[in-house]
């Protein structure tokens, strides 16, 4: 799920950036530092949408670096248990398949894949129904439900299932070609 929230961060800026464009430099550095990171609490920071406030800088003794407390608005993405996501399959093996929904990695183990789909090894490993009408392989897009998340300080990993109504393949690139 996406959230638009305000976060705060202390930015250290090298003295060489001090000048008329200090604020721009600060924001650019903030984006470089923060976007794409993940915190267990808020999830993945997708994008910074604005800087609310830059506080008074504090010169660090010895180094000359200045610390600015910066408040910024950002879009974060945090997966939740029970959430339905659309994801791209990145790897298929006998134990199940891995998929990515943006920055989030999701593993769907083979017992959470419908019973009528079977693993086919080979050049392009895939899960296929007996009549071959549905095939999950690398680059397939699947809709899945998250049944568990493991949230570390800097990482979120999810377990998903496609064993439910309206879950499974959305569009099959193999069928199109």
């Amino acid at each position: 799920m996406f959230f638009h929230i305000v976060l705060e961060r202390n930015m250290q800026l090298h003295p060489r950036h001090f000048g008329p464009h200090l604020r721009d430099k600060l924001v650019a550095k903030l984006m470089k530092d923060v976007e794409g990171t993940c915190s267990g609490r808020h999830g993945f920071v997708v994008a910074i949408t604005g800087v609310e406030d830059v506080g008074k800088g504090l010169i660090r003794e010895g180094t000359g670096f200045v610390t600015f407390p910066v408040k910024y608005q950002c879009v974060v993405f945090r997966p939740f248990k029970g959430e339905i996501l659309e994801a791209v399959v990145t790897m298929v093996n006998k134990m199940g398949f891995f998929a990515e929904a943006g920055p989030v990695q999701i593993f769907v183990s083979n017992h959470l894949i419908p019973d009528d789909m079977e693993f086919q090894s080979g050049d392009v490993p895939n899960y296929t129904t007996s009549d071959g009408s549905v095939k999950i392989q690398k680059e397939s897009e699947v809709r899945l439900k998250i049944i568990g998340t493991r949230v570390d300080a800097t990482e979120i990993f999810c377990i998903g299932t496609i064993k439910d109504d309206y879950l499974g393949i959305i569009s099959d690139p193999g069928a199109a070609s």
Binding site: G96, F98, S109, H111, L112, I159
Partner: protein, 465 residues
Amino acid sequence: MGSLEPFNRLVKLTARAFYDDISMKGENQPKTSRGDNRGMAVVVLDALTRRQWVREEDLAKSLKLHSKQLRRILRFFEEEKLVTRDHRKESAKGAKIYSAAAAAAGDGQAGTKEGEEKVKLHTHSYCCLDYAQICDVVRYRIHRMKKTLKDELDSRNTVQHYVCPNCKKRYSAFDALQLISYTDEYFHCENCNGELIAESDKLASEEMGDGDDNARKRRREKLNDMQQRIDEQLKPLQAQLKRVKDLPAPEFGSLQSWERLNLGAFTHGDSCAADASRNAQGQYNGTPMPYLGDTKVDVELAGSGAKEEGAESGRNGAELKVLPPWMVKEGMNLTKEQRGETSNTSSNGDEKSEGKDAKKQDPKEDEKSIQDEYIKAYYEALKKRQEQEDAKMMQQEGHAFSSTHSERQLGTKTKREDGDVEDEGVEWEEQEPLGNTSEPYKFVDLNAEAPESGDEEDGIDWEEG
């Protein structure tokens, strides 16, 4: 207070369904308690259905259990949310009356007695079934059981676990990212690089297999079977739950409020609060009051006991009071149904009173004579029984009282019968205090206890004999 019987039945069913093989073994089991005490939990629960608030020591005594053992069981049930417990400090037995009054009233009233300085406060525990919560707990428990099974059946929402056959290290699907190997399509152990195998579900662990179709099918069958058995075996319990769902649960309130309520019925009007609580203590420590209020037969006699001279009306009211919950809840076609139940139910007190009601209701319209016959016979028997019981009892007045009282019933009963049925049950609590305005009732209610507790056993004897 709602009718207890369906709830008691629920408790009994629950006890047998879920707590049948609970063994209350502590880690440091003393070697004196040999053998297994499974089934003890059921006995305790059953005993509690026949009581309201009861002091744990008294309960232990009457169950011939060690109080520690009982406490362990009760603590277990408290955790299971079936039982509410209350602990409070009370004086040692010797000084109980004064100190209890003082402590309970808390106002140093009645000139703190000389016992005060040598009073040692002991914590006494009381326990009581929490019927409303029991319903919820049992329903939730069944729901959880079914849900777990169903989830397992569609293997939905379950996190797959993997185990290394070499070093037995266990992984969950959450670790999948670290476990993938790029050489083949299996997961590999972090320690020994062994190939991990998927661990099959706990419920069907015998059907160990690495998730191939056959094993999966067999597991599914097993779970289906288990589900069916659950449905089948819990059917009576669920039927009872359904029946009880719309009934108001009997509510005893907290220990204090329950005590107050019951004391209100028993103490005389001019007694002050301290007196009341003292009386309470006396009853707890002496004759076991908790036995009195619970079965319906008891209540009937308590009603008559408290109103001495208005005995006919009191008697009648108390007797009819048994009826209302049944009449109101089960609709008006109760007579035959009631009879059906009376033959089935194992609860003696109810059986007796119900039988009486049924008898009383039907013939009222058609044949008075049969009714009179029955009543006469019934009271003959009752009287005889009471006399037997009373011989055992220490209190002689109780004997005299109950016999006179039952004699009085013989003549007057038929004419009082058309007293309105609904009201009696409801008003019973209030009626008591009304009657309790003068001193002599104190005697009466003390006496009344003896025949009552006697009568409960009486009912049981009757059944078995």
